[in-house]
């Protein structure tokens, strides 16, 4: 930790209150990590050992076998692939479409602007179950022969991409329109007087200035869409087509017979989001607070 190397001299003398606070925080932090550490501990132990000695026991052997077994047995790579096919287009499309709406709302004073933004923002706050029944029917009724494997919107990656984009663009449009409103008006005004098209104002002037907000939203969206469980659970019927998070739910019943393997499997699914989080923590946190109306 770099923070321990900070010169001690400049700090205030150690007060008992501070020590107490650190004891409290360290204790709470440890308690917070306990369920995850327990999962890691379970995942690292062979089933034969834990079933003989019990789970709370000194380990004779720690191996990564459960991880490799879970990965291979359940064909996880395939499900990670499914997630990638859904999440990448969904994140990109959401950012593109919501920035378009945000640009329209933030840069032009048309009469319906506020109402439009209200519709988007409110839509994103609804619980998913409010719309799922008719959506499910709509997906079953939409025939797309040749476009998706199932021939319908139902049970297809396209269907999931569409609902992710529709649902998440509410939140992103709200955040981006606020962000765009804070940009100086003179920038686009000058370009408009010089005869630049609206598209250029958006693509070449406004969008590059929104990079910090877009980066924050991209991080947040990737984590949310990756973590989606509900849409895939209802709108995908073939286990094969499921993204990783909901596939795990199927797998734990079908393939995994011991808890150690389930532990390993679930930890594996958490790795990508953890990597994104540790790499882009700043973006993640600022994204959450940019539009803190998100449930």
């Amino acid at each position: 930790m770099s923070s321990t190397t900070v010169p001690l001299k400049r700090r205030a003398p150690i007060r008992p209150a501070r020590v107490l606070l650190h004891v409290f925080l360290a204790g709470t932090a440890l308690a917070w990590l306990a369920p995850l550490l327990w999962a890691i501990f379970s995942a690292l132990r062979p089933y034969s050992e834990t079933s003989a000695k019990g789970y709370v026991s000194w380990p004779d052997k720690l191996t990564f076998e459960n991880f490799t077994n879970a990965f291979k047995q359940s064909d996880m790579l395939h499900y990670f692939g499914n997630t990638l096919v859904i999440a990448v287009p969904a994140v990109l499309l959401t950012l593109f479409l919501s920035s378009c709406v945000a640009f329209y709302v933030a840069r032009f004073d048309f009469r319906l602007n506020l109402a439009l933004l209200l519709v988007f923002t409110a839509g994103n706050l609804l619980p998913q179950q409010v719309i799922i029944t008719p959506l499910y029917r709509l997906y079953l009724l939409t025939n797309l022969p040749g476009i998706t494997q199932s021939g319908k919107l139902y049970d297809s990656a396209l269907g999931l991409v569409l609902i992710h984009v529709a649902f998440q663009s509410g939140f992103c449009a709200f955040v981006l329109s606020n962000y765009m409103r804070s940009l100086p008006h003179e920038l686009t005004e000058a370009a408009l007087v010089d005869g630049a098209s609206v598209w250029r104002l958006y693509w070449q002037i406004t969008l590059p200035l929104c990079k910090p907000a877009m980066a924050a939203l991209a991080t947040l969206l990737s984590i949310w869409i990756y973590n989606d469980f509900f849409w895939a659970l209802v709108l995908i019927s073939t286990g094969e087509n499921m993204p990783i998070t909901s596939a795990l739910n199927n797998l734990s019943g079908q393939y995994f017979t011991d808890p150690n393997l389930v532990a390993a499997g679930s930890l594996l699914t958490a790795i990508p989001t953890l990597v994104v989080y540790f790499a882009l923590q700043r973006q993640f946190v600022s994204g959450l607070t940019l539009g803190s109306n998100k449930g």
Binding site: L21, G123, N293
Partner: protein, 326 residues
């Protein structure tokens, strides 16, 4: 943490500098005159395509839910849709043994989240805002559950609660046949067991929101309070907490919405079996269960919709009114 984006809370970003508004209206009128026909077409597409997608998949379906709630439909062909008036609701309120427990659990979910993880998150945020050592490490630990999927959290906590092999029973010695404490199976315990896992996640989320709120508190307020000789608690109570009002509103709304949305965790735990029913689970069971009763499922969804809108609409009106004034 102090990136330039962190300070841009929606409220802050939405407020342009005080003197700018007259110039802005003039400028936008100028804009309108300068728009060519092609520009107008581009703009229509830019606003139209996302709006159609969003309205069709979110709002048209929400309205369809309302319509279907007054009908029965087996889902095969549109001509089998039959108008039944309030029958679905009558059945739901009077005959469904799961409905009132579900409503009650949603309420309990909210009460627990607002009484335990929310103050704890605020407390942690206040402590971590003091620029203490290892602040980043602590923050990372408490945020961690927010990043992991709810489904995954469900699996992890099952390992803790499992009657034979779980952490709790192994430690307290309740893992022998006849002495089981069935945290997930017992209808008197399972709701609380799930709520501990939900609170574990919610605390970190609340901490993020409060940390952001605290960052925007004017440091001179603290100084003034210290000069007046106020102690830490007095400063917090009379100076800091009142300035957190916008954050508190957001926290309240987020917590209500979270309580209404609760689903993944419970579904992974025990599919909302006895003791953990929630409105969201009842709706979903009508779709993925054996019995696909569309009208009936929609009626439950409408209850959920009405409660949600009762929260969302006042909140958005307040938020947007503030923007307009600015």
């Amino acid at each position: 943490m102090t990136t330039d984006t962190t300070t841009n809370t929606p409220e802050a970003a939405a407020v342009p500098p005080p003197g700018a508004s007259p110039a802005r209206t003039r400028a936008t009128h100028g804009h309108r005159r300068l728009l060519t026909r092609r520009d107008r077409f581009t703009l229509a597409l830019m606003a139209g395509v996302p709006t159609i997608l969003h309205v069709l998949l979110v709002w048209v379906t929400a309205i369809a839910s309302i319509f279907l709630a007054f009908t029965t439909w087996d889902g095969i062909g549109f001509d089998s849709i039959k108008w039944v008036g309030l029958d679905n609701f009558k059945q739901l309120f009077n005959d469904n043994p799961q409905f009132w427990p579900a409503v009650q659990h949603n309420v309990i979910w909210f009460v627990v989240l607002i009484l335990i993880p929310t103050p704890l998150g605020l407390f942690l945020a206040v402590q971590l805002d003091k620029r203490i050592r290892f602040s980043r490490v602590y923050q990372t630990v408490f945020f961690l559950p927010v990043v992991i999927s709810m489904a995954c959290i469900g699996f992890v906590w099952q390992l803790v609660y499992n009657p034979d092999t779980g952490l709790i029973n192994s430690i307290i010695g309740a893992n022998k046949p006849g002495h089981y404490i069935d945290w997930i199976g017992d209808p008197h315990l399972n709701l609380w067991a799930v709520l501990i896992a939900a609170s574990w996640r919610h605390t970190g989320y609340m901490m993020i929101l409060y940390l952001a709120g605290l960052k925007s508190v004017d440091p001179s307020l603290r100084e003034a309070s210290a000069l007046d000789g106020a102690n830490e608690w007095q400063t917090f109570k009379s100076v800091i907490f009142p300035t957190l009002r916008p954050t508190n509103t957001v926290v309240l709304v987020v917590t209500i919405i979270e309580a209404l949305r609760a689903f993944d965790l419970v579904f992974v735990f025990n599919k909302g079996a006895q003791g953990t029913e929630l409105l969201s689970i009842l709706v979903t069971n009508n779709i993925i269960g054996e019995s696909s009763r569309i009208g009936y499922g929609s009626a439950i969804a409408v209850v959920l919709l009405v409660i949600s809108l009762a929260v969302i609409i006042p909140y958005l009106i307040a938020t947007f009114r503030k923007e307009r004034r600015a």
